[in-house]
């Protein structure tokens, strides 16, 4: 094994170790899990009522290629993904404010790599739990999620979707190295994900000019791609969307890496 592959193998082992401990650590937050689950049930119930009214309770009616059943399951998938993301921006901001970033930086591990391991471990657990909770409410109202290979498409694109979300959050979180206060930026990012990311409404239902704008932004790769593939499986489109996700991951990872390198040289660690 050459030096470079040894380095990557070691980095992978470290990431797995951090992921394992983060998984065990989050199990302590039972109330947080319960609150999130309750909120998901509530929000999905409201959405089901709203969309049932829009479709006039007609299960055969189709709007822009989506039946009522598909739109409800689409929302289950986007909500499960959205609520899966841990509060990364807040964590980085707090680390900089209280000086805990020093503890991360004295370790022989990449700073972004550490946060990715924690994020992936928590997000995957939450995503599975949220899918189960979402299914518990969607199934009785609109029936089972029988969308052929849809589940395969959803799972194939969800890993990339969560990675894109991580990188977007990391970009905002790293701003804390300069400004220490990122809540405003995070608010904007979150609202962009809600709207042009396709969380509240599939992008197909948006005006055409907006769809063209969305096609050039990373937000659709984080929510719309996996959720739409979950209810509308298309093998050819799956390959294309995977390629787009990989493209965004490479681009955003380069941006995170550049931003980290610049930010860490400007960093002012607070506290003794």
């Amino acid at each position: 094994m050459d030096g470079e592959s040894k380095r990557w193998t070691a980095a992978g082992r470290k990431a797995a170790a951090v992921g394992r401990i983060a998984f065990r650590h989050q199990l302590a937050y039972k109330t947080d899990f319960a609150m999130r689950g309750f909120f998901l049930l509530f929000i999905l119930f409201v959405f089901i009522q709203l969309w049932s009214a829009a479709y006039e309770g007609d299960f055969s009616k189709s709007i822009s290629g989506f039946t009522l059943k598909q739109i409800v399951w689409y929302l289950v998938f986007t909500e499960a993904l959205t609520l899966a993301a841990p509060p990364l921006c807040y964590r980085i901001e707090e680390e900089v404010k209280n000086g805990d970033v020093a503890i991360r930086l004295i370790r022989p591990q990449s700073y972004a790599g550490y946060h990715f391991s924690v994020f992936a471990s928590e997000a995957l657990t939450r995503f599975i739990v949220h899918l189960a909770i979402g299914s518990a409410i969607a199934w009785p109202f609109v029936g089972p999620p029988a969308f052929g290979y849809g589940w395969l498409g959803l799972l194939a694109l969800s890993a990339g979707a969560l990675t894109v979300t991580f990188l977007l959050l990391m970009l905002v979180g790293l701003c804390a190295f300069w400004v220490e206060e990122t809540s405003g930026l995070y608010f904007v990012l979150q609202k962009l994900q809600f709207t042009i990311g396709g969380m509240l409404l599939p992008i197909d239902l948006m005006p055409e000019w907006l769809q063209r704008v969305c096609a050039w932004l990373p937000f659709q790769a984080a929510l719309y791609f996996p959720a739409r593939m979950g209810v509308h499986f298309d093998a050819a489109l799956l390959a294309k969307q995977l390629a787009i996700q990989i493209g965004w991951i490479v681009l955003l990872a380069l941006a995170v890496s550049r931003m980290y390198r610049r930010g860490v040289s400007k960093l002012h660690v607070n506290g003794g």
Partner: protein
Amino acid sequence: MLALQTRGLGKTFRVKRKEAGLSGSFRSFWKPNWETKEAVRGIDLTVREGETVAFLGPNGAGKSTTIKMLTGILHPSFGEAEVLGLTPWKERERLAYRIGAVFGQKSQLWYHLPPIDTFELISRIYELQRDEYVRRKDELIERFELGPYLHTPVRKLSLGERMRCEIAASFLHGPRLLFMDEPTIGLDAVVKQRIRELIRERNRVEGTTVFLTSHDAGDVETLCSRAVVIHHGGVLVDEPVERMKREVLSRKIVTLKLTEGADPAALPLIAGTRWETEEEGCRLAVDLKRTTIERVLSELIGRVGFTDVNVEDPPLEEIIKHIYGMKGEAD
């Protein structure tokens, strides 16, 4: 061999100056007024491997900033530094395998999990061989007496127990150089003493270089062979602790809690001491060059009624102030 060397190492920060009040906030928003603050002003320092160095100074003197530059956490604004042959801020990850750090006010342990889980994680992060990890872990558990609470969630440990785990965790990967930023802060006297003994033992057994900042004179006296005092970001004094002890650590404070009805005005005069009466008790400053604690206590017993007695070092701030005074006179 050198553990670390710095040449003119310094750090400046840009700080926003804001005037008081609402109008000040508006002015600062539209036209921020930035000021450059010099946290560390060109430090020249050399530490040999195996040394135990106390890095002292009042709050804001630049101690923690210097440690953060030497561990690669902060990038300096000017100057050079080499730690174990590496430039910390350029080769942070490589250096991290060879050094350890304890920040007294920050925890590396996972809050909801027992310390053993963090130990396990550290073994993976530092790529320790399995048998080496088990051997070192067992040795540290035994020496630091961690057995009883190794499987207790960190949130349920006392500060003293947690700090012992923190320090043991920092020694787990066998660092050649250990930076400690106020490792005994907030601990009681017994735990402080135990922690000092354990660090001293690691230095003796493994030859670990210790670079420590503290506001506790006891840490300096017990742990360190050399003291470096900085002020306004520059080195003011660099000398062996033994010499410092002779010159400025030659004082102890004896605090008495008088029995009810005892008259503080009638306290006996003892050679080599000076009374400093306080509200809750009476403080006796003892000059160890002129008398001993034993002699002072034996003179007090029988002549003064007291319910409690405490013997301690004068606060480090007082010692440093004294050093500044001495330097000022010399200059």
